[in-house]
Protein backbone atom coordinates (compact mmCIF):
# COMPACT_ATOMS: atom_id res chain seq x y z
CA UNK A 1 0.00 0.00 0.00
CA UNK A 2 2.75 2.37 1.00
CA UNK A 3 4.69 1.41 -2.10
CA UNK A 4 1.75 2.06 -4.34
CA UNK A 5 1.19 5.60 -3.11
CA UNK A 6 4.89 6.23 -3.57
CA UNK A 7 4.69 5.32 -7.23
CA UNK A 8 1.55 7.41 -7.69
CA UNK A 9 3.40 10.38 -6.24
CA UNK A 10 6.33 9.70 -8.53
CA UNK A 11 4.01 9.59 -11.54
CA UNK A 12 2.41 12.89 -10.59
CA UNK A 13 5.81 14.53 -10.25
CA UNK A 14 7.01 13.09 -13.55
CA UNK A 15 3.94 14.27 -15.44
CA UNK A 16 4.27 17.72 -13.91
CA UNK A 17 7.75 17.96 -15.37
CA UNK A 18 6.59 16.66 -18.72
CA UNK A 19 3.82 19.25 -18.84
CA UNK A 20 6.23 22.16 -18.52
CA UNK A 21 7.80 21.42 -21.91
CA UNK A 22 6.21 23.28 -24.83
CA UNK A 23 4.87 20.75 -27.28
CA UNK A 24 6.38 22.15 -30.51
CA UNK A 25 9.81 22.84 -29.06
CA UNK A 26 12.83 20.91 -30.23
CA UNK A 27 16.17 20.43 -28.61
CA UNK A 28 19.56 21.06 -30.18
CA UNK A 29 22.79 19.73 -28.71
CA UNK A 30 25.60 22.18 -29.24
CA UNK A 31 29.31 21.44 -28.80
CA UNK A 32 30.92 24.69 -27.63
CA UNK A 33 34.62 25.58 -27.42
CA UNK A 34 35.49 26.34 -23.81
CA UNK A 35 36.43 30.00 -24.41
CA UNK A 36 32.91 30.75 -25.67
CA UNK A 37 31.19 29.34 -22.57
CA UNK A 38 29.73 32.54 -21.09
CA UNK A 39 28.62 34.00 -24.41
CA UNK A 40 27.04 30.71 -25.50
CA UNK A 41 25.04 30.46 -22.29
CA UNK A 42 23.63 33.94 -22.83
CA UNK A 43 22.87 33.21 -26.46
CA UNK A 44 21.14 29.95 -25.52
CA UNK A 45 18.90 31.76 -23.04
CA UNK A 46 17.89 34.38 -25.59
CA UNK A 47 17.48 31.67 -28.23
CA UNK A 48 15.04 29.81 -25.97
CA UNK A 49 13.07 33.00 -25.30
CA UNK A 50 12.82 33.96 -28.96
CA UNK A 51 12.24 30.58 -30.61
CA UNK A 52 10.99 28.26 -27.86
CA UNK A 53 13.66 25.75 -28.81
CA UNK A 54 16.12 24.55 -26.25
CA UNK A 55 19.89 24.56 -26.81
CA UNK A 56 21.77 22.07 -24.65
CA UNK A 57 25.41 23.12 -24.41
CA UNK A 58 28.47 20.88 -23.94
CA UNK A 59 31.79 22.61 -23.30
CA UNK A 60 35.31 21.38 -23.95
CA UNK A 61 38.47 22.03 -25.89
CA UNK A 62 37.96 22.13 -29.64
CA UNK A 63 40.24 19.12 -30.10
CA UNK A 64 38.33 16.93 -27.66
CA UNK A 65 34.93 17.95 -29.02
CA UNK A 66 36.11 17.21 -32.55
CA UNK A 67 37.38 13.76 -31.54
CA UNK A 68 34.00 13.08 -29.92
CA UNK A 69 32.07 14.25 -33.00
CA UNK A 70 34.21 11.99 -35.17
CA UNK A 71 33.05 9.09 -33.01
CA UNK A 72 29.37 9.77 -33.14
CA UNK A 73 28.76 12.20 -30.27
CA UNK A 74 25.14 13.37 -30.52
CA UNK A 75 25.85 17.03 -31.36
CA UNK A 76 23.98 18.94 -34.04
CA UNK A 77 25.98 22.18 -34.03
CA UNK A 78 29.71 22.65 -33.49
CA UNK A 79 31.02 26.01 -32.27
CA UNK A 80 34.78 25.54 -32.56
CA UNK A 81 37.62 27.80 -31.45
CA UNK A 82 39.30 27.52 -34.84
CA UNK A 83 38.52 27.10 -38.53
CA UNK A 84 40.38 23.87 -39.05
CA UNK A 85 38.22 21.48 -37.03
CA UNK A 86 34.90 22.54 -38.62
CA UNK A 87 36.56 22.28 -42.04
CA UNK A 88 37.86 18.78 -41.21
CA UNK A 89 34.42 17.77 -39.99
CA UNK A 90 32.93 18.83 -43.32
CA UNK A 91 35.67 16.99 -45.22
CA UNK A 92 34.98 13.85 -43.23
CA UNK A 93 31.35 14.08 -44.31
CA UNK A 94 30.10 14.79 -40.81
CA UNK A 95 29.10 18.41 -41.39
CA UNK A 96 27.50 20.53 -44.09
CA UNK A 97 30.39 22.43 -45.72
CA UNK A 98 28.29 25.38 -46.90
CA UNK A 99 26.90 25.99 -43.40
CA UNK A 100 30.35 26.97 -42.10
CA UNK A 101 30.88 30.60 -41.07
CA UNK A 102 32.96 32.64 -38.62
CA UNK A 103 30.81 33.51 -35.61
CA UNK A 104 33.49 35.22 -33.52
CA UNK A 105 37.06 36.50 -33.65
CA UNK A 106 38.87 36.00 -30.38
CA UNK A 107 41.26 38.32 -28.57
CA UNK A 108 44.21 37.15 -26.50
CA UNK A 109 45.02 38.85 -23.19
CA UNK A 110 47.78 38.42 -20.67
CA UNK A 111 46.07 38.29 -17.30
CA UNK A 112 46.97 38.14 -13.62
CA UNK A 113 44.75 37.94 -10.56
CA UNK A 114 47.18 40.29 -8.86
CA UNK A 115 46.38 44.00 -8.91
CA UNK A 116 48.79 46.45 -10.62
CA UNK A 117 51.28 43.76 -11.61
CA UNK A 118 51.50 45.08 -15.18
CA UNK A 119 49.64 47.02 -17.81
CA UNK A 120 51.76 46.12 -20.82
CA UNK A 121 53.78 43.19 -22.12
CA UNK A 122 57.07 44.30 -20.58
CA UNK A 123 56.41 42.05 -17.57
CA UNK A 124 57.41 39.16 -19.84
CA UNK A 125 60.93 40.59 -19.98
CA UNK A 126 61.16 40.60 -16.18
CA UNK A 127 60.99 36.90 -15.31
CA UNK A 128 61.74 37.64 -11.65
CA UNK A 129 58.33 39.28 -11.28
CA UNK A 130 56.30 36.12 -11.87
CA UNK A 131 56.51 32.37 -11.22
CA UNK A 132 54.75 30.66 -14.09
CA UNK A 133 52.85 31.43 -17.27
CA UNK A 134 49.64 29.48 -17.83
CA UNK A 135 48.53 28.85 -21.40
CA UNK A 136 46.04 26.49 -23.01
CA UNK A 137 47.49 23.36 -24.65
CA UNK A 138 48.89 24.79 -27.92
CA UNK A 139 48.47 21.47 -29.73
CA UNK A 140 44.72 21.34 -29.27
CA UNK A 141 43.52 24.83 -28.27
CA UNK A 142 43.86 27.82 -30.64
CA UNK A 143 44.34 30.29 -27.78
CA UNK A 144 47.29 28.20 -26.62
CA UNK A 145 48.78 28.27 -30.12
CA UNK A 146 48.24 32.05 -30.24
CA UNK A 147 50.03 32.41 -26.89
CA UNK A 148 53.06 30.50 -28.19
CA UNK A 149 53.00 32.59 -31.38
CA UNK A 150 53.00 35.76 -29.30
CA UNK A 151 55.96 34.64 -27.18
CA UNK A 152 57.83 33.68 -30.36
CA UNK A 153 57.05 37.04 -31.97
CA UNK A 154 58.49 38.73 -28.89
CA UNK A 155 61.58 36.47 -29.06
CA UNK A 156 60.85 35.28 -25.53
CA UNK A 157 59.64 31.74 -26.12
CA UNK A 158 62.97 29.96 -25.60
CA UNK A 159 63.69 32.02 -22.52
CA UNK A 160 60.30 31.42 -20.91
CA UNK A 161 59.64 27.89 -22.16
CA UNK A 162 60.40 26.32 -18.79
CA UNK A 163 57.94 28.62 -17.03
CA UNK A 164 54.96 27.51 -19.10
CA UNK A 165 52.23 25.35 -17.60
CA UNK A 166 49.46 24.08 -19.81
CA UNK A 167 45.79 23.84 -19.07
CA UNK A 168 43.82 21.21 -20.95
CA UNK A 169 41.80 24.06 -22.43
CA UNK A 170 41.59 27.83 -22.02
CA UNK A 171 39.19 27.49 -19.07
CA UNK A 172 41.75 25.51 -17.11
CA UNK A 173 44.51 27.96 -18.04
CA UNK A 174 42.35 30.73 -16.60
CA UNK A 175 41.68 28.62 -13.50
CA UNK A 176 45.44 28.27 -12.88
CA UNK A 177 45.75 32.06 -12.96
CA UNK A 178 42.58 32.77 -10.98
CA UNK A 179 43.63 30.46 -8.13
CA UNK A 180 47.05 32.14 -8.06
CA UNK A 181 48.92 28.95 -8.89
CA UNK A 182 50.30 30.74 -11.94
CA UNK A 183 51.04 34.44 -11.53
CA UNK A 184 50.28 35.28 -15.14
CA UNK A 185 48.63 33.57 -18.07
CA UNK A 186 47.45 34.02 -21.62
CA UNK A 187 43.68 33.70 -21.66
CA UNK A 188 40.77 34.79 -23.83
CA UNK A 189 39.52 38.35 -23.41
CA UNK A 190 36.04 36.83 -23.16
CA UNK A 191 37.01 35.18 -19.88
CA UNK A 192 38.15 38.35 -18.13
CA UNK A 193 35.69 40.85 -19.60
CA UNK A 194 33.41 40.43 -16.58
CA UNK A 195 36.26 40.15 -14.07
CA UNK A 196 36.89 43.20 -11.92
CA UNK A 197 40.43 43.83 -10.72
CA UNK A 198 43.59 41.98 -11.64
CA UNK A 199 46.08 43.08 -14.26
CA UNK A 200 45.63 42.69 -17.98
CA UNK A 201 47.36 43.44 -21.24
CA UNK A 202 45.49 43.09 -24.48
CA UNK A 203 48.00 41.43 -26.83
CA UNK A 204 48.41 43.47 -30.04
CA UNK A 205 46.77 41.73 -32.97
CA UNK A 206 49.97 41.78 -35.05
CA UNK A 207 51.71 39.37 -32.65
CA UNK A 208 49.48 36.39 -33.41
CA UNK A 209 47.33 35.15 -36.29
CA UNK A 210 43.64 35.97 -35.97
CA UNK A 211 41.68 33.49 -33.85
CA UNK A 212 38.75 32.99 -36.18
CA UNK A 213 36.15 30.73 -34.59
CA UNK A 214 33.93 28.85 -36.99
CA UNK A 215 30.52 27.28 -36.50
CA UNK A 216 29.24 24.41 -38.59
CA UNK A 217 25.98 22.50 -38.82
CA UNK A 218 26.59 18.81 -38.31
CA UNK A 219 24.92 16.15 -40.48
CA UNK A 220 22.79 14.90 -37.61
CA UNK A 221 21.35 18.41 -37.20
CA UNK A 222 20.37 18.94 -40.83
CA UNK A 223 16.81 17.74 -40.23
CA UNK A 224 16.48 19.31 -36.80
CA UNK A 225 14.57 22.63 -36.97
CA UNK A 226 16.14 23.71 -33.67
CA UNK A 227 19.66 23.19 -35.03
CA UNK A 228 18.96 25.07 -38.27
CA UNK A 229 17.32 27.86 -36.34
CA UNK A 230 20.24 28.04 -33.87
CA UNK A 231 22.71 28.51 -36.76
CA UNK A 232 20.53 31.34 -38.14
CA UNK A 233 20.19 32.88 -34.70
CA UNK A 234 24.00 33.06 -34.34
CA UNK A 235 24.03 35.45 -37.33
CA UNK A 236 21.34 37.74 -35.89
CA UNK A 237 22.07 41.22 -34.59
CA UNK A 238 20.97 40.19 -31.11
CA UNK A 239 23.50 37.35 -31.03
CA UNK A 240 26.24 39.58 -32.47
CA UNK A 241 25.68 42.03 -29.66
CA UNK A 242 26.14 39.31 -27.04
CA UNK A 243 29.26 38.05 -28.81
CA UNK A 244 30.78 41.56 -28.86
CA UNK A 245 29.88 42.20 -25.23
CA UNK A 246 31.96 39.18 -24.35
CA UNK A 247 35.13 40.56 -25.88
CA UNK A 248 34.99 39.16 -29.41
CA UNK A 249 34.79 40.86 -32.76
CA UNK A 250 32.26 39.62 -35.27
CA UNK A 251 33.93 41.11 -38.36
CA UNK A 252 37.66 41.06 -39.12
Amino acid sequence: MKNKSFFVALLVIASAFAATRPSSAETVNVAVAANFTAAAEEIATLFAEETGHEAVLSFGSTGRLYAQILHGAPFSVFLAADQERPRLAAEAGLALADSRFTYALGTLVLFSAEENLFDDGSILERPDDFNRIAIANPASAPYGAAAVETLEALNLYDKLKDRIVQGENITQAFQFVATGNADIGFVALSQVVGEKGGSRWRVPQDLYSPIAQDAVLLKSGADNPAAVSFMAFLKSAAAHKIVQNHGYRTTP
Partner: protein, 221 residues
Protein backbone atom coordinates in the same frame (compact mmCIF):
# COMPACT_ATOMS: atom_id res chain seq x y z
CA UNK B 1 56.55 9.03 -25.60
CA UNK B 2 59.46 7.37 -23.78
CA UNK B 3 59.70 10.36 -21.49
CA UNK B 4 56.06 9.98 -20.44
CA UNK B 5 56.49 6.26 -19.76
CA UNK B 6 59.64 6.81 -17.69
CA UNK B 7 58.01 9.66 -15.76
CA UNK B 8 54.94 7.54 -15.02
CA UNK B 9 57.02 4.64 -13.71
CA UNK B 10 59.10 7.02 -11.61
CA UNK B 11 55.97 8.63 -10.16
CA UNK B 12 54.46 5.22 -9.39
CA UNK B 13 57.66 3.97 -7.75
CA UNK B 14 58.14 7.04 -5.54
CA UNK B 15 54.44 7.05 -4.66
CA UNK B 16 54.52 3.35 -3.74
CA UNK B 17 57.50 3.98 -1.46
CA UNK B 18 55.60 6.65 0.48
CA UNK B 19 52.38 4.61 0.39
CA UNK B 20 54.16 1.77 2.17
CA UNK B 21 55.99 4.11 4.54
CA UNK B 22 52.75 5.74 5.76
CA UNK B 23 50.24 3.07 4.79
CA UNK B 24 51.66 0.07 6.67
CA UNK B 25 51.72 1.70 10.13
CA UNK B 26 48.29 3.16 9.41
CA UNK B 27 46.94 -0.26 8.39
CA UNK B 28 48.48 -1.80 11.52
CA UNK B 29 46.76 0.77 13.70
CA UNK B 30 43.44 0.31 11.88
CA UNK B 31 43.71 -3.46 12.31
CA UNK B 32 44.73 -3.48 15.97
CA UNK B 33 43.22 -0.41 17.58
CA UNK B 34 40.18 -0.82 19.82
CA UNK B 35 39.07 2.80 19.61
CA UNK B 36 35.61 3.29 18.20
CA UNK B 37 36.61 6.30 16.10
CA UNK B 38 39.22 4.35 14.17
CA UNK B 39 36.53 3.68 11.57
CA UNK B 40 36.21 7.45 11.08
CA UNK B 41 39.88 7.49 10.10
CA UNK B 42 39.30 4.35 8.02
CA UNK B 43 36.51 6.16 6.20
CA UNK B 44 38.68 9.19 5.46
CA UNK B 45 41.37 6.89 4.07
CA UNK B 46 38.75 5.17 1.88
CA UNK B 47 37.20 8.41 0.54
CA UNK B 48 39.31 8.55 -2.65
CA UNK B 49 37.66 5.25 -3.67
CA UNK B 50 34.37 7.02 -4.32
CA UNK B 51 35.30 10.69 -4.82
CA UNK B 52 35.89 11.82 -8.38
CA UNK B 53 39.63 12.56 -8.77
CA UNK B 54 38.68 16.04 -9.93
CA UNK B 55 37.31 16.79 -6.43
CA UNK B 56 40.66 15.88 -4.93
CA UNK B 57 42.52 17.78 -7.66
CA UNK B 58 40.37 20.84 -7.16
CA UNK B 59 40.94 20.93 -3.39
CA UNK B 60 44.66 20.30 -3.86
CA UNK B 61 44.85 23.15 -6.36
CA UNK B 62 43.17 25.51 -3.89
CA UNK B 63 44.99 24.23 -0.80
CA UNK B 64 48.47 24.15 -2.32
CA UNK B 65 48.25 27.52 -4.13
CA UNK B 66 51.13 29.83 -3.14
CA UNK B 67 48.66 32.26 -1.47
CA UNK B 68 46.88 29.69 0.71
CA UNK B 69 48.07 29.14 4.31
CA UNK B 70 49.21 25.59 3.56
CA UNK B 71 50.85 26.61 0.29
CA UNK B 72 52.65 29.46 2.03
CA UNK B 73 53.93 27.14 4.75
CA UNK B 74 55.21 24.64 2.18
CA UNK B 75 56.88 27.42 0.22
CA UNK B 76 58.55 28.75 3.38
CA UNK B 77 59.83 25.27 4.24
CA UNK B 78 60.95 24.01 0.84
CA UNK B 79 61.37 27.14 -1.26
CA UNK B 80 58.93 26.11 -3.96
CA UNK B 81 55.20 25.52 -4.35
CA UNK B 82 53.79 22.11 -5.16
CA UNK B 83 51.35 22.52 -8.06
CA UNK B 84 52.92 21.86 -11.48
CA UNK B 85 55.82 19.91 -9.96
CA UNK B 86 56.73 16.25 -9.69
CA UNK B 87 56.64 16.53 -5.89
CA UNK B 88 53.10 17.89 -6.12
CA UNK B 89 52.05 14.87 -8.17
CA UNK B 90 53.57 12.56 -5.56
CA UNK B 91 51.54 14.25 -2.79
CA UNK B 92 48.35 13.98 -4.85
CA UNK B 93 49.04 10.37 -5.83
CA UNK B 94 49.77 9.21 -2.27
CA UNK B 95 46.43 10.59 -1.08
CA UNK B 96 44.60 9.27 -4.10
CA UNK B 97 46.04 5.73 -3.97
CA UNK B 98 46.09 5.36 -0.18
CA UNK B 99 42.98 3.13 0.14
CA UNK B 100 44.33 0.74 -2.50
CA UNK B 101 47.49 0.19 -0.48
CA UNK B 102 46.01 0.32 3.04
CA UNK B 103 43.02 -2.00 2.62
CA UNK B 104 44.86 -5.21 1.61
CA UNK B 105 47.51 -4.63 4.29
CA UNK B 106 44.86 -4.04 6.95
CA UNK B 107 43.04 -7.22 5.92
CA UNK B 108 46.27 -9.17 6.15
CA UNK B 109 47.05 -7.82 9.63
CA UNK B 110 43.51 -8.61 10.81
CA UNK B 111 43.77 -12.16 9.45
CA UNK B 112 46.80 -12.87 11.63
CA UNK B 113 44.65 -12.73 14.76
CA UNK B 114 45.87 -12.43 18.34
CA UNK B 115 47.41 -15.88 18.79
CA UNK B 116 50.79 -15.53 17.05
CA UNK B 117 51.31 -12.10 18.60
CA UNK B 118 50.44 -13.33 22.09
CA UNK B 119 52.70 -16.32 21.62
CA UNK B 120 55.50 -13.96 20.65
CA UNK B 121 54.76 -11.82 23.69
CA UNK B 122 55.06 -14.79 26.03
CA UNK B 123 58.49 -15.39 24.49
CA UNK B 124 59.32 -11.86 25.64
CA UNK B 125 59.18 -10.20 22.23
CA UNK B 126 58.60 -6.45 22.62
CA UNK B 127 55.99 -4.55 20.56
CA UNK B 128 58.50 -3.57 17.85
CA UNK B 129 59.92 -7.05 17.69
CA UNK B 130 56.41 -8.50 17.41
CA UNK B 131 55.60 -6.10 14.58
CA UNK B 132 58.79 -6.64 12.59
CA UNK B 133 59.46 -10.34 13.26
CA UNK B 134 55.93 -11.74 13.44
CA UNK B 135 53.28 -9.43 11.94
CA UNK B 136 55.17 -8.15 8.89
CA UNK B 137 56.39 -11.59 7.66
CA UNK B 138 52.91 -13.11 8.15
CA UNK B 139 51.29 -10.21 6.27
CA UNK B 140 53.69 -10.48 3.32
CA UNK B 141 51.06 -11.36 0.70
CA UNK B 142 48.92 -8.41 1.81
CA UNK B 143 51.92 -6.10 1.65
CA UNK B 144 52.70 -7.30 -1.85
CA UNK B 145 49.08 -6.87 -3.01
CA UNK B 146 48.90 -3.40 -1.47
CA UNK B 147 52.14 -2.31 -3.12
CA UNK B 148 51.11 -3.69 -6.51
CA UNK B 149 47.65 -2.08 -6.39
CA UNK B 150 49.05 1.24 -5.17
CA UNK B 151 51.63 1.21 -7.96
CA UNK B 152 49.11 0.26 -10.63
CA UNK B 153 46.53 2.76 -9.48
CA UNK B 154 49.11 5.55 -9.65
CA UNK B 155 50.07 4.53 -13.18
CA UNK B 156 46.41 4.86 -14.17
CA UNK B 157 45.84 8.17 -12.45
CA UNK B 158 44.43 10.96 -14.58
CA UNK B 159 42.07 13.44 -12.93
CA UNK B 160 44.34 14.64 -10.15
CA UNK B 161 47.29 14.99 -12.52
CA UNK B 162 45.18 16.92 -15.00
CA UNK B 163 44.08 19.35 -12.30
CA UNK B 164 47.43 20.09 -10.64
CA UNK B 165 49.95 18.94 -13.26
CA UNK B 166 50.05 21.62 -15.94
CA UNK B 167 51.15 19.15 -18.63
CA UNK B 168 54.90 19.81 -18.42
CA UNK B 169 56.95 17.25 -20.41
CA UNK B 170 59.39 15.37 -18.16
CA UNK B 171 57.91 16.88 -15.01
CA UNK B 172 54.16 16.28 -14.90
CA UNK B 173 53.15 14.90 -18.31
CA UNK B 174 52.40 11.30 -17.38
CA UNK B 175 51.08 8.49 -19.58
CA UNK B 176 47.36 9.03 -19.10
CA UNK B 177 47.71 12.73 -19.92
CA UNK B 178 49.88 11.93 -22.95
CA UNK B 179 47.19 9.56 -24.25
CA UNK B 180 44.56 12.25 -23.75
CA UNK B 181 46.75 14.73 -25.64
CA UNK B 182 47.31 12.34 -28.53
CA UNK B 183 43.58 11.73 -28.84
CA UNK B 184 42.84 15.46 -28.78
CA UNK B 185 45.41 16.23 -31.44
CA UNK B 186 44.22 13.34 -33.63
CA UNK B 187 47.45 11.31 -33.29
CA UNK B 188 45.54 8.10 -32.78
CA UNK B 189 48.36 5.82 -33.83
CA UNK B 190 50.41 6.93 -30.83
CA UNK B 191 47.35 6.93 -28.59
CA UNK B 192 46.70 3.33 -29.61
CA UNK B 193 50.22 2.21 -28.75
CA UNK B 194 50.12 3.74 -25.27
CA UNK B 195 46.52 2.76 -24.59
CA UNK B 196 47.11 -0.85 -25.53
CA UNK B 197 50.22 -0.88 -23.37
CA UNK B 198 48.09 0.28 -20.44
CA UNK B 199 45.53 -2.47 -21.03
CA UNK B 200 48.23 -5.14 -21.12
CA UNK B 201 49.90 -3.70 -18.03
CA UNK B 202 46.64 -3.56 -16.05
CA UNK B 203 45.80 -7.11 -17.06
CA UNK B 204 49.19 -8.34 -15.85
CA UNK B 205 48.79 -6.49 -12.55
CA UNK B 206 45.33 -7.80 -11.72
CA UNK B 207 46.24 -11.33 -12.78
CA UNK B 208 49.35 -11.29 -10.60
CA UNK B 209 47.41 -10.14 -7.52
CA UNK B 210 44.89 -12.91 -8.08
CA UNK B 211 47.67 -15.48 -8.44
CA UNK B 212 49.29 -14.24 -5.24
CA UNK B 213 45.99 -14.64 -3.41
CA UNK B 214 45.49 -18.15 -4.77
CA UNK B 215 49.01 -19.09 -3.82
CA UNK B 216 48.39 -17.82 -0.29
CA UNK B 217 45.10 -19.67 0.06
CA UNK B 218 46.78 -22.91 -0.99
CA UNK B 219 49.54 -22.49 1.54
CA UNK B 220 47.31 -21.45 4.42
CA UNK B 221 43.97 -23.13 3.79
Amino acid sequence: MGEAIFLTLKLAAVTTFFLMLFGVPLAWWLARSERWWKEVIGTIVALPLVLPPTVLGFYLLIALAPQSPLGEAIKALTGFSLPFTFAGLVVGSVIYSLPFAVQPVRNAFEAIGDDPLEAAATLRAGPFDRFFSVALPLARPGLLTGAILGFAHTVGEFGVVLMIGGNIPGETKVLSVAIYDYVETLQWQKAHILAFGMVAFSFAVILSTMLIERHVRRRFP
